[in-house]
């Protein structure tokens, strides 16, 4: 998930680190707060800077399984995320995580009984098939599409609206669904947990209008939606708690107050007035308010900060003529001053140094540091490597977004590289221009790019494949290092085709090291996100993944 909030339908990116400056050295972090048995009832308010919510149609949503869309849409599987421990994939509307056959090319799911949409209609396998087929329509292409390159025989398919169906998704009866993939894929149980795999009533979910008043499968239904003002969710009377151990569905009603100014939002929650006590903020707490919270014991007790997780990294454009030499690229790893980068991003409350691609909290992560250079870097070693490479007067263009934190980090990188004799020219761009430059088909225009990434589901695959597989270069995809390495590709393919998660994780760890070993990336920091809640909000916690509150667990104290 490249720099975007875990909000229902948020396709626009918000720099992860924008709101995380200041307060260096503070130690008030907590990933969990005010826990207790989930009480039922009350109206929970979620203050949110987003103005519109496109993810009310699951085909278009980028939301994570445990945030907003988890309140509305169930899928075959979902995530079990507690305040501690590694997240796990668990059955949601299916009876299991999936049964693989044909070496992982075919996955079979059976549905639970007694499951209904918010309109009272039973949920069947046909609804799942239809929901997935919709994502192939041009009008509904904007969501998470992990399934698209995997499901077999979809080359010319354009959705179910003209009556055509995918033969690679079979529904032998109303409670069985079988997926035929074009290659073995061990992470399929994670893929079917994404929002775009949610069921919608078959034949009754028009592309243009379904998202305005969606039929839901989760514990809540949409009562009203007014763009820029509010989204009001009420209980889905047809949701069965017995079939859903993963959502507590505490509040009777949930009101998203949209279009909030993040500063006003934070002030509202700090003041904890009567209207704010049953509320929490969906936005990161801005730097000035983080400083304010430090001096306010009440607000400090209501601040929740995630463990370090999303990766901020320097993509090294290996297709740049200046960076063809491995030793020259290795010099970039040795020269970087991570202590300065942590400070630039807001101090230890906001970040911690990173040396791996698989982020903390994701199963399979093996900590390592291939370029040990201390916390402030080793410019002498970098100079030596550049000399060995025969590279002199190296001047590199660093593309970055023009938000304050990205700019500060870029300047910290520039300063550190200067000590190693590398001249860095910062190319500061707005988000759209930055994305177009680094994800476009041309490799020219930048040598380095500052970016960040949080996976869309907690699998090591999503830390590696979208960022470093050769198939993800250009066309708007995120291999912005433009690494096309046959060894890395082979490891990725092997890991993807491995059904045993333990064996796959070992392969992902190898791929992690191989990519960093190719010096195609300089891991900089793992970011931390801070959020505020009102004093009556309970079970407001952030697990090891994702770095956002678990909306599906939040309840209110009576």
């Amino acid at each position: 998930m490249m720099k975007h909030k875990a909000l229902l339908g948020t396709s626009a990116a918000v720099a992860l680190s924008v709101a995380l400056a200041a307060c260096g050295g503070a130690n008030s972090t907590s990933a969990t707060a005010s826990s207790g048995p989930a009480q039922k009832g009350g109206t929970l308010t979620i203050l949110d800077s987003e103005t519109t919510i496109t993810g009310l149609d699951p085909a278009l949503s980028w939301s994570l399984a445990t945030t907003s869309s988890g309140l509305l849409f169930r899928r075959l599987t979902t995530w079990k995320v507690g305040p501690t421990g590694t997240p796990k994939v668990v059955p949601d509307l299916a009876t299991s995580d999936g049964t693989p056959s044909d070496g992982g090319r075919v996955w079979t799911y059976h549905l639970k009984s007694g499951i209904y949409f918010s309109n009272g209609q039973p949920i069947t396998s046909y609804d799942f098939k239809y929901g997935i087929e919709r994502t192939y329509a041009s009008a509904l292409s904007g969501g998470l599409n992990y399934q698209k390159p995997l499901i077999a025989d979809t080359a010319s398919y354009t959705g179910p609206f003209s009556g055509k169906q995918l033969s690679s998704i079979q529904t032998p009866d109303k409670s069985t669904i079988i997926f035929h993939l074009n290659k073995p894929y061990g992470d399929w149980p994670w893929v079917v947990s994404t929002t775009s795999m949610a069921p919608v009533p078959a034949g009754n979910a028009p592309a243009a209008t379904f998202g305005k008043q969606p039929v839901t499968s989760g514990p809540y239904a949409v009562q009203s939606y007014s763009p820029g003002n509010s989204l009001v969710l009420v209980r889905n009377k047809h949701w069965s708690a017995a079939s859903d151990p993963n959502r507590t569905a505490g509040p009777s009603k949930i009101v998203f107050q949209l279009n909030q100014d993040p500063t006003v939002e934070a002030q509202t929650l700090i003041s904890d007035g009567p209207s704010a006590q049953d509320a929490f903020g969906a936005d990161f707490v801005p730097p000035a308010q983080l400083a304010q919270v430090e001096n306010n014991p009440s607000a400090k007790s209501r601040l929740v900060t995630s463990p370090a997780s999303p990766l901020e990294y320097l993509a090294v454009n290996v297709q740049s003529p200046k960076l063809k030499n491995l030793k020259a690229r290795e010099a970039l790893d040795y020269a970087v001053n991570r202590q300065a980068v942590v400070l630039a991003s807001g101090g230890t409350l906001a970040a911690q140094p990173a040396t791996t691609l698989i982020t903390p909290g994701i199963a399979g992560r093996v900590p390592y540091d291939l370029y040990p250079a201390g916390s402030t870097g080793n410019p002498a070693k970098a100079r030596s490597l550049l000399a060995q490479a025969g590279v002199h007067n190296l001047t590199l263009t660093l593309a970055t977004m023009n938000d304050p934190i990205s700019t500060a980090i870029s300047q910290a990188v520039q300063e550190a590289y200067k000590k190693a004799g590398i001249n860095v020219v910062i190319k500061s761009l707005d988000q759209n221009a930055f994305t177009a430059l680094v994800t476009g088909n041309s490799a020219s225009g930048y040598d380095l790019a500052l970016s960040s990434w949080q996976p869309d589901f907690p699998s090591a695959m999503d830390n590696i494949e979208p960022l470093f597989a050769s198939s993800m270069i250009g066309n708007g995809n995120y291999n912005i290092s433009r690494l096309a390495d046959s060894h890395v590709d082979a490891l990725i393919n092997q890991a993807e085709g491995t059904i045993s998660q333990t064996a796959a994780n070992a392969l992902w760890a190898q791929a992690d090291k191989a990519i960093v070993g190719a010096a195609a990336v300089v891991p900089l920091i793992y970011n931390k996100n801070s959020f505020l809640r009102g004093s009556s909000v309970q079970n407001f916690y952030i697990g090891t993944f994702p770095a956002y509150p678990i909306y599906t667990a939040v309840s209110l104290r009576k």
Binding site: S141, S226, N259
Partner: protein, 333 residues
């Protein structure tokens, strides 16, 4: 003869208005296409294959040459437009200002949702700032050099200098959080609850009025001081007219000519979106819509809202010209 002159005046103005609107829409399109971003990419989703990207680009009509896209945009205003074909096609009925693929709504529908918010802010604030600004300027001019004059002008300087964002935040902190007597955010539609509509708009109105009234106070004061030294004012006084009549009937009428010009342009601009005020007070008006569209490279919304904002400014200019003519009969086409 007089009717002919008026008709010529109106035709000239209307022709100018249409030319300006065409230029604005064309400039918006051309500027947009110079931005290195691909709107189809945003609609292709995450994990986007070249084939899907091509399909999406064709669906959005972005595979056509720029000039044809522009003509399609203009044509849709009168004839409507359909994106795609078959059962999943998206229909945008006339007058169609485009379809927002980011928000999955027609731009007309988005404008319909946001314009009442902006209009509520703009009209209320404009009435307040015009009344307060002109009154303060007149009083200040009549008490020139005295404590009242200095006090009013000091407040005016503060108003002119203060950024809207800061004034809005301070107002929220004071009246919303500290005194807890006014709502700090949100919009209630007029037809839903008129009292709550006004109650929620008090802070935005006052914020905008505080900033803008200052300019009007300073302008009115200087114009009034000039007018008070004019021969016709001396003549009016010499004729024995009451001071109230001299000021209100003779001096103020001339003072209002530049004030009306400024007011028309300000209101027209504000109707195009009170960006900062809408953001601070969490109100989803045209300004917030436009900013969101710019951030997400939503060409249809940018073009539609820009065109509408231009319409407001152009129409405001036209009304100013007409009022000008009423205030000063010497003005001709």
């Amino acid at each position: 003869m007089r009717h002919t002159r008026t008709a010529r005046f109106l035709i000239t103005k209307l022709g100018g208005m249409i030319a300006v609107l065409l230029l604005v829409s064309l400039a918006t399109y051309l500027i947009f296409y110079m931005i290195p971003a691909d709107p189809a990419r945003f609609e292709c989703g995450k994990i986007c294959s070249p084939g899907t990207l091509r399909q999406v680009r064709a669906f959005m009509g972005l595979n056509e040459p720029v000039w044809r896209q522009y003509l399609s945009f203009l044509g849709a205003i009168f004839a409507g437009r359909t994106y795609g074909s078959g059962p999943s096609a998206i229909v945008c009925p006339a007058p169609c200002l485009g379809y927002s693929f980011q928000q999955h709504e027609t731009v007309m529908s988005l404008i319909g949702q946001t314009l009442p918010v902006t209009a509520s802010i703009a009209v209320g604030a404009a009435v307040l700032w015009l009344a307060a600004g002109v009154a303060a300027g007149v009083v200040s001019a009549l008490r020139r050099g005295r404590a009242l004059d200095r006090g009013v002008m000091t407040v005016a300087i503060v108003g002119v200098s203060a950024p809207a964002y800061l004034v809005g935040l301070l107002a929220i902190l004071l009246f919303g959080f500290k005194l807890n007597i006014l709502p700090d955010s949100g919009y209630v539609p007029l037809l839903q609850n008129p009292a709550q509509w006004a109650f929620h708009l008090i802070l935005p109105w006052c914020t905008l009025a505080f900033i803008s009234a200052a300019i009007y106070a300073r302008l009115t004061r200087s114009q009034m001081l000039d007018a008070l030294g004019e021969d016709y004012v001396r003549t009016a006084r010499a004729k024995g007219l009451r001071e109230r009549r001299v000021i209100g009937r003779h001096a103020l009428r001339n003072v209002m000519i530049p004030v009306v010009t400024l007011f028309g342009l300000d209101v027209g601009t504000l109707l195009g979106g009170a960006v900062i005020t809408e953001k601070v007070f969490s109100m989803y008006g045209l300004g917030a819509l436009l900013i969101g569209a710019v951030q997400s490279t939503d060409l249809s919304t940018i073009s539609g809202v820009t065109l509408l904002a231009a319409v407001f400014v152009v129409v405001a200019n036209f009304i100013v010209d007409v009022v000008y003519k009423l205030l000063d009969p010497r003005v001709t086409a």
